[in-house]
């Protein structure tokens, strides 16, 4: 699999990661070699195999799921404690709408 620097930039935009020029070359090389390696999965015929998303335990739903009841969650003050910028009970971010 040949990953180009253009593909790297496309994926980086999806992942919200800034990639500067040298890094694009490194990502392209790394991703190409790892994708070549994982290509070995195609040796296996999996047409009749169900995908496994999760290790499921045998307990019934009523045991594993709690009641859908209202209860106190993390208080506002604690929720904002680690915010890089907060004010008036909100998280603050750079302006998103032009007036």
């Amino acid at each position: 699999v040949k990953i180009t620097e253009e593909v790297v930039q496309y994926v980086a935009a999806l992942a919200h990661l800034e990639v500067i020029h040298d890094e694009a070359r490194d990502y392209a090389a790394n991703m190409s070699s790892i994708l070549d390696y994982v290509g070995k999965l195609n040796e296996l015929d999996t047409n009749n195999v169900e995908p496994m998303a999760q290790v499921l335990s045998n307990s019934p739903d009523e045991i594993s799921l709690r009641a859908d009841a209202e209860k106190p969650s993390l208080p506002l003050e604690l929720s904002l404690l680690n915010a890089p910028e907060a004010g008036a009970g909100h998280f603050k971010v750079p302006k998103v709408i032009e007036r």
Partner: protein, 491 residues
């Protein structure tokens, strides 16, 4: 002359405090002194929690003074991997992006051990967001193996393993997604358990790959491992995957016979790539198990060679989704030079994440992107079924499966950092069990010379035991009997 806490098991510490032969504060002080002496050398702890720990120890001593029955882990110094939250304590995940993050709540596993009297002495260094096999991906510096400081402790729970090996804590919490408890346990000569998926609540464990993440203990002995598991296991309203299957008394279950136990030895785990010195020790370990009255059976697990490829698709896909939350808005680092929101996200993530984390986010985003989802992610999930099936078929014939933990002993710092793929392949024997969700343990099984010609320092090797889902009692019993039979730590 200070106390070497490595000499004591969890049960012994509790008994010594109860009979007032030694105080919890003396044990805690010994732990903190050892941390002061050794942490500058091995860098296994990111945060030392001296005041909080001493206050906890004092409470245990007043319980003892009042003649109260002490809880199971009373006065036991514990290190907690820095991906597991403790309210009011910094939780960095080994990342620059969370350098100043202070946890607003406590993980269920930590809450339970503290309720059982454990004294948390510090937060253990690890690979950034638990991504790595050598603890060389931490923003807070490499951890060094206490057995040989030129070598890695393994990863990603390298700090948790090194802290126990160096006598800085009696036991520790790690997390295991592809081998991150078992491989460092093997490299540092301690016992490391990845329990069944769902045995211990993941609430408060910072997510890397949610369908594969496990919390588990690292300890000097199997009995300490059993004590820790028993306290942490069980359902939790905060994690719907935490199972309600009853929790046995794992310590009591260590007794009893292992005679007649059927042990599967899968030939795929002893193929090309396994170093001859490791192989010799694991073979000797299997002979020991036979001499204990176990029956060994050669089995086949034909999809083993696909596990690493399967894992690096599933795990990176889940990681790319889980790590989307680090965007400079609610917590963590923010690049304040960006003019727009989108630019702020991108620059913050560029500045805050290290190379390996970015590599995995990129790979995970790619395999989930339009046009590639079926070819990579869906394909890997199907292969995961086949790997899980290898285990369920094997467990129709045998009670446990015994394998090496890692292909080599601890390697040198810097030896594998140039090639990510080579580093990934060092997890080949542990990743299978992670994908299947079965419990796996690494127990010390001997020492091997660092160099193939028989020279160099002697390095620890672990042997791995897998069991059926939720069959930790049998797993720990066999591991305990193996430990008793061997005295493997010193030969």
């Amino acid at each position: 002359m200070s106390i070497d806490i490595r000499k004591f098991t969890v049960a012994e510490i509790r008994a010594l405090i109860a009979s007032k032969k030694i105080s919890a504060q003396e044990i805690c002080k010994a732990s903190l002194e050892q941390i002061a002496a050794e942490n500058p050398r091995n860098n296994s702890l990111i945060t030392v929690m001296a005041d909080r720990a001493m206050a906890q120890a004092k409470q245990i001593d007043s319980l003892a003074a009042d003649g109260e029955t002490l809880p199971a882990l009373a006065g036991v110094p514990v290190a907690v991997k820095d991906v597991i939250n403790i309210r009011g304590v910094r939780n960095t995940c080994g990342s620059r992006i969370l350098e100043k993050f202070v946890s607003p709540y406590t993980a269920t596993a930590v809450e339970r051990i503290e309720k059982a009297g454990a004294v948390v002495v510090g937060k253990a260094n690890c690979d950034e967001f638990a991504m790595g096999s050598s603890n060389e991906n931490s923003a807070y510096g490499d951890v060094r193996n206490p057995v040989d400081l030129e070598r890695v402790p393994g990863g990603s729970s390298g700090g948790s393993a090194a802290a126990v090996a160096a006598g800085m804590a009696v036991t520790s919490l790690g997390s295991d997604t592809g081998g991150s408890i078992r491989q460092p346990a093997s490299f540092c000569g301690v016992v490391g358990l990845m329990p069944t998926y769902g045995r211990i609540s993941r609430y408060g464990l910072v997510a890397y790959a949610s369908s594969l993440d496990h919390i588990g203990p690292l300890s000097q002995t199997v009995s300490d491992t059993a004590a820790m598991l028993g306290v942490m296991a069980g359902p939790d309203p905060m994690d719907s995957t935490a199972s309600a299957i009853p929790v046995p008394d794992y310590v009591a279950e260590l007794q009893g016979s292992v005679k007649g136990l059927r042990i599967g030895v899968p030939k795929e785990y002893f193929a090309q790539g396994l170093s001859s010195s490791v192989r010799a020790k694991v073979d000797a370990g299997i002979r020991t198990l036979s001499s204990m009255g176990c029956e060994t059976v050669e089995i086949t697990m034909p999809h083993t060679e696909y596990a690493v490829a399967c894992y690096y698709i599933v795990a990176t896909a889940e990681a790319s989704a889980n790590l989307a939350r680090y965007d400079g808005v609610r917590y963590g680092l923010r690049n304040s030079k960006a003019a727009t929101l989108n630019e702020m996200y991108k620059k913050t993530r560029h500045d805050g994440f290290g190379a390996e984390v970015k590599r995995r986010i990129m790979l995970g985003t790619y395999v989930l992107s339009a046009g590639y989802y079926d070819a990579y992610y869906r394909k890997a999930q199907r292969v995961r079924s086949l790997i899980a099936q290898d285990f369920s078929r094997a467990f129709e014939k045998v009670d446990v499966i015994v394998t090496p933990v890692a292909p080599t002993p601890a390697f040198k710092l810097g030896e594998k950092t140039a090639d990510p793929l080579e580093m990934y392949l060092s997890d080949i024997y542990t990743i299978t069990g992670s994908l299947a969700g079965v419990p796996g343990i690494s127990v010390p099984c001997g020492l091997v010379p660092a160099n193939p010609d028989g020279t160099g320092s002697l390095l620890p090797i672990g042997i791995q035991i897998f069991a059926r889902h939720f069959d930790e009692a049998r797993l720990l019993r066999l591991a305990h009997h193996f430990e008793m039979a061997g005295g493997f730590k010193g030969n």
